[in-house]
């Protein structure tokens, strides 16, 4: 092995320290963490080596390290660390650093760790949309009163669904593209780091499906020690995302394939609404339980703003979406509209910052797990 010239980056270390890894320097390399980790693969297990790299500020090595993402933040290492170096938290901070490093639009990555900042960005987009169609007064009446006197609120009348789609489809594509950019750079770096060749070495297509199946099984979560009870809430959140993605596409089919009128499928009699509401309930339950779990473990396992932002955003999306529906059905016009706009802003926030917030783990961890399967360094599962 050829020697590498080592030049620690002091600012990287200070950055880590500021973003939740304030304990990184405490590690004295006893490797208890790697021993107690239930999921680390046999060869070169994490997080012992990541701890020393982080202490030494070896940011390039860390960015190209799939193990940073193979870690599922179980927290067993933190529980057993004799020095209080909190490896789980350090790896969390390292993941944030990786997300920032591979961010395509760096200013957005900078804003991502501030909830207020990212909310403002999303709000500007949505309010811009409203302004463009002249609907800045969200309290104005856009409803119809039915023959029976029932107030029939159709959001399409207030804010045309086509306009909404015209904004959200590009936002979604932007998220997918920028995340894809980061993932490709990440993939190249971890392949280079492992010395994998251009063609066969990098062709990991056969590993993708097994990885997705493993993610759906969530069996890595079951292997966790102290954080075992996170499995169901996390799975709820993941499945709810999938259900809501299906719902959205279903609506797209109604609107643009079958040519239905916007709002014509918003009655609870439509199966689309069933799926959507099941997803929404799962989303609320998942977010609520995940937040409760984190709160309960605050004394032993610290969480950064980066962690909280995503959880609260998901919770807010669920709450605003659900309330918008309830208020709409109750016929309370201004409340329904305000709630709808808020809901849209939160979703926009989720989309715009998907590659830069903690949600990016969806892309990077999946990539790292594909890489692990591809290179035969499978995670241990329960």
């Amino acid at each position: 092995m050829s020697d590498i010239m080592v030049e620690p980056d002091l600012n990287f270390i200070k950055g880590l320290t500021a973003s939740g890894a304030d304990t990184v320097k405490k590690c004295y390399q006893c490797a208890t963490c790697s021993v107690v980790c239930n999921i680390a693969p046999e060869g070169g297990p994490f997080p012992r080596k990541e701890m020393v790299w982080a202490q030494w500020g070896l940011k390039d090595k860390l960015a190209a390290d799939p193990d940073v993402w193979l870690c599922h933040n179980c927290g067993d290492c933190t529980k057993h660390c004799p020095r209080g170096a909190k490896p789980a938290e350090v790896l969390g901070a390292l993941r944030k650093a990786t997300i920032e490093k591979y961010a395509m639009i760096k200013p957005l990555a900078g804003i991502a760790s501030s909830f207020a900042g990212s909310f403002v960005v999303a709000a500007i987009v949505i309010i811009g949309l409203l302004a463009a169609i002249g609907h800045l007064n969200v309290l104005a009446n856009y409803h119809e009163v039915g023959e029976d006197g029932h107030v029939n609120i159709i959001f399409n009348n207030f804010l045309n669904t086509h306009y909404v789609d015209a904004v959200f489809m590009p936002l979604f594509m932007l998220a997918v593209l920028t995340a894809g950019y980061g993932v490709m750079k990440f993939w190249n770096d971890i392949c280079d780091g492992a010395g994998l060749g251009k063609y066969t070495g990098r062709n990991a297509l056969p590993s993708i499906l097994p990885t997705l199946l493993q993610i759906m099984q969530h069996n890595v979560f079951s292997a966790c020690g102290v954080n075992k009870d996170r499995k169901i809430p996390h799975l709820l959140a993941l499945v709810s995302f999938i259900l809501l993605f299906i719902t959205t596409n279903w609506a797209v089919v109604y609107l643009y394939v079958l040519g239905w009128e916007p709002g014509s499928y918003s009655s609870l009699h439509n199966p689309l609404k069933w799926v959507g509401n099941i997803g929404a309930i799962m989303l609320l339950a998942g977010a609520f339980l995940l937040i409760r779990n984190r709160k309960a473990k605050e004394a032993t396992q610290s969480s950064s703003a980066f962690d909280w932002n995503l959880l609260y955003l998901i919770l807010l999306i669920g709450v605003t979406g659900f309330l918008a529906q309830v208020i709409r059905m109750a016929g309370i016009v201004p409340g329904a509209q305000v709630m709808y706009v808020l809901h849209l802003i939160f979703i926009a926030q989720l989309f715009i910052f998907a590659p830069y917030s903690k949600l990016a783990h969806l892309f990077y961890r999946t990539t790292a797990m594909v890489f692990a399967k591809h290179t035969g360094r499978d995670l241990k599962v329960a």
């Binding site: 080592v6 030049e7 320097k25 004295y28 080596k49 020393v52 500020g57 070896l58």
Partner: protein, 759 residues
């Protein structure tokens, strides 16, 4: 002295269940003999003291528990001869007790429960021990302590932190101290430091060096006399009566001192020997940790080549330490010193970086806290690793290649300066010998050296003792002047001379100050015990001392050569000149003397010989062959007590006879015992050789050496040489002792009885 013997047998603690006390009483013959069920109680004690008062009993035999317990109860002062016979731990608790015999088969159950029957072999053993005790008591004489008016001044050699603290410590409890410092100022290495490692809880922050403060206190203390630019050019005498010549600024000063604390400190390992390995001397910017300390004290850490402030500094740990080619040991402070100096580097410039490349990070005890604190700095980088090369990269910059790192691969680091964390060499290290060539010294090596005409290395000149065995304290491993590092801290192999600080063991300031207190107290304890006529460690409170019947001396010099403590000097003819205050009362001289002229009031060739003769040797009983076990009082005997306490049994063919040290065993006992028909002799003592456990350093080894003589004796008697054996046992091995003893008995029984039996 007209002796009147009183024998008192206790029946308590299960003794009366094991031996028939009535039969025991018969053993005492015509002497006053009484039994009591609770001899250590008020009534039992009164039984003895009343007899002393009313009957004139002045020689007391207490057959009860081990002499290692209840010594405060059975204590009648120096004027009364006291012998303790251990029939509790060594008989009642470790032999079969009386049993109710099983009814014969088919016999009707008796109306009354039958009486328990005493075990025959247990009874024989109890009676033998009592006979031995009585035989001993008849020969023992009361101790006559050598109470003397001695000089109680403590001389401390070395004016560093340890020396200053030791002098202050002695002075604080009312003893005059003389402090001898070779340089022109007090302070030692501590005075050269920029900062010192923490000395108080929580052991996390650096402190200003304490040397100036201690120096101030010493100068202000009227009870401490300081000699600067001084050395001890002559030390004549013995503890309590040393005449010392201190040469200071060229003038000789005579002082009378009682005891000596050696705080002569350490020297950094010679880095020029690391020229090949780390480029010291060849590369301008490779420096030692002491150089960094001096730079820091002078204001800033600059690299020597161009005076540029050092920004990237790499520390090489174990530079020459834990290295078979240099210092084979760990100095325990270099890791801490580098962590400390890393903080100097970091304090100099916020962007600076300090790298520490270690073998193992060793920060003993509470210094873990300092390690934690120092490590927490983002600019301090630590990894295990091996330095493979240090090369110049132009402009004086250095590139260090490191293999086997925790980073997972071999790395290169560019540094402005490389610091070698060198270890500590005790200033007692023999001159002209490399540390690596100074392995553990044992007696057998002394013999080998002498046989090969090699000179045994002596500690570097420090005290210039006028002692028979040489002018300095002997050193053990790597030139440290200890006697047994773990069991006897501060003790050297010369009574009354105590080592403290980094000369005793590599250590930092906090430990050195503790050490100073410890050694000062040991010195004071020595002088106080000696002035009362008592032995010091490890036989403290023993008031006897060896007496020499010089009219029979043949000047063979065995005693003066073999004494582990160089107690005996010689006159021109080679006659031993005793120095009781140097003596530790082990009796090695007694074991050595072919003329048997050495004796203690309560321990002599004759006394032990009489005890052996008191053992009943059955002549026609295959079950009861007779073996004598000469058992060292320091570890083996307590191990047997522990065995009894744990109710483990030992072979009843053995008779235990405690000795002060196996080194005191005189061959004549063995010859006498065997000619009386004793079937074999086992000597149980401490481990000898490397990592010895002997409380008198080489007593057990000496005994082993003397086995040559024993073999001769056996040959002369036409006996198998296996009839006399030596085993090594520590107090912790009590659970293994029964098997060790059993094996000896079984092997010898297989050999058949001693043919001299019955003659």
């Amino acid at each position: 002295m007209d002796k009147k013997l009183g024998v008192y047998i206790c029946g308590g603690c299960g003794i009366s269940d094991a031996v028939d006390l009535e039969k025991m009483v018969k053993v005492a013959g015509n002497n006053v003999c009484k039994t009591h069920p609770f001899l250590c109680g008020k009534e039992g004690s009164a039984l003895i003291t009343n007899d002393m008062k009313d009957e004139g009993v002045n020689t007391v035999v207490v057959a009860a528990c081990s002499p290692r317990v209840m010594y405060d109860v059975f204590n009648y002062g120096n004027d009364v001869v006291l012998e303790r016979v251990n029939i509790r731990e060594h008989v009642a608790w470790s032999q079969p007790n009386a049993e109710v015999p099983a009814p014969a088969e088919g016999a009707e159950a008796p109306a009354e429960a039958p009486a328990a029957v005493f075990h025959k072999a247990t009874q024989m053993m109890g009676e033998d021990y009592l006979r031995m005790g009585i035989a001993k008591a008849q020969k023992m004489m009361p101790a006559e302590p050598l109470v003397q008016d001695l000089t109680k001044t403590v001389m401390v050699v070395g004016g560093g932190v340890t020396g200053m603290k030791a002098a202050l410590s002695a002075s604080s409890i009312g003893y005059r101290a003389i402090l001898v410092e070779k340089t022109g100022a007090l302070g030692g290495w501590s005075a050269k430091m920029h900062k010192q490692l923490p000395t108080k809880a929580p052991f996390a922050a650096l402190e200003a060096p304490i040397a100036p403060e201690l120096a101030k206190q010493v100068e202000a203390d009227a009870n401490i006399k300081v000699y600067l630019n001084a050395e001890v050019s002559n030390t004549y005498g013995a503890p309590g009566m040393y005449d010392v010549t201190i040469t200071s600024n060229g003038a000789a000063n005579e002082e009378k001192v009682g005891t000596i604390v050696m705080a002569v400190g350490w020297t950094p390992y010679d880095a020029t020997k690391l020229a090949d390995k780390y480029g010291y001397g060849n590369l301008a910017n490779v420096v030692t940790n002491m150089q960094v300390e001096e730079m820091a004290k002078a204001g800033s850490i600059k690299r020597p080549s161009d005076g540029k402030a050092a920004k990237n500094v790499l520390f090489v740990q174990c530079a020459g330490s834990r290295d078979a080619d240099h210092l084979p040991y760990c100095s325990s402070v270099c890791c801490l010193a580098s962590l400390k100096q890393a903080s100097y580097v970091r304090a100099q410039d916020g962007d600076s970086k300090a790298y520490i490349i270690y073998k193992d990070m060793r920060t003993p005890g509470l210094y873990e806290n300092y390690y934690k604190a120092a490590q927490n700095d983002p600019g301090v980088f630590l990894t295990k690793g091996e330095i493979t090369s240090i090369t110049e990269a132009g402009n004086g910059d250095l590139v260090v290649e490191i293999a086997n790192t925790l980073i997972g691969e071999n790395i290169k680091i560019k540094a402005d300066m490389v610091v070698l964390a060198t270890g500590m060499v005790p200033n007692t290290k023999p001159v002209d010998v490399d540390s690596k060539d100074l392995p553990v010294r044992t007696l057998s090596m002394d013999y080998a050296d002498q046989a090969a005409g090699r000179k045994i290395p002596m500690a570097a000149p420090t005290l210039n003792l006028q002692y028979r065995q040489g002018p300095e304290v002997p050193t053990l491993e790597y030139g440290f002047p200890d006697s047994h590092y773990i069991c006897f801290p501060y003790e050297t192999q010369r009574t009354g001379i105590y080592a403290a600080g980094a000369v005793r063991s590599p250590m930092g300031v906090a430990q050195a100050m503790n050490d100073a207190d410890g050694a000062a107290l040991k010195a004071v304890q020595c002088i106080e015990l000696a002035s009362r006529g008592s032995a010091v460690h490890p036989r403290a409170l023993d008031m006897t001392y060896p007496e020499f019947r010089l009219e029979s001396c043949t000047q063979c010099k065995r005693c003066t050569e073999e004494c582990p403590f160089s107690t005996l000097d010689e006159d021109e003819k080679g006659t031993p000149k005793p120095n009781p205050t140097r003596c530790r009362r082990c009796g090695v001289c007694m074991g050595a003397c072919p003329q048997r002229i050495v004796s203690f009031k309560n321990y002599s060739v004759d006394i032990i010989g009489s005890m052996i003769k008191a053992v009943d040797v059955p002549s026609d009983d295959d079950d009861q062959m007779r073996f004598i076990c000469l058992m060292c009082e320091n570890d083996a005997y307590p191990a047997l007590d522990m065995m009894g306490i744990n109710r483990l049994q030992y072979n009843n063919n053995l008779r235990i006879l405690p000795v002060r040290c196996l080194g005191s065993v005189n061959v004549v006992w063995i010859a006498d015992a065997l000619s009386r028909g004793v079937d074999g002799i086992l000597m149980a003592g401490c481990k000898f050789g490397e990592d010895y456990q002997c409380h008198f350093i080489k007593g057990s080894e000496q005994c082993n050496k003397r086995m040559d003589n024993v073999q001769e004796t056996l040959q002369r008697l036409s006996l198998e040489k296996e009839r006399v054996q030596q085993i090594q046992v520590s107090v912790a091995e009590y659970d293994k002792l029964p098997a060790m003893l059993d094996k000896f008995v079984k092997d010898l029984k297989a050999m058949g009885p001693n043919p001299f039996k019955g003659f």
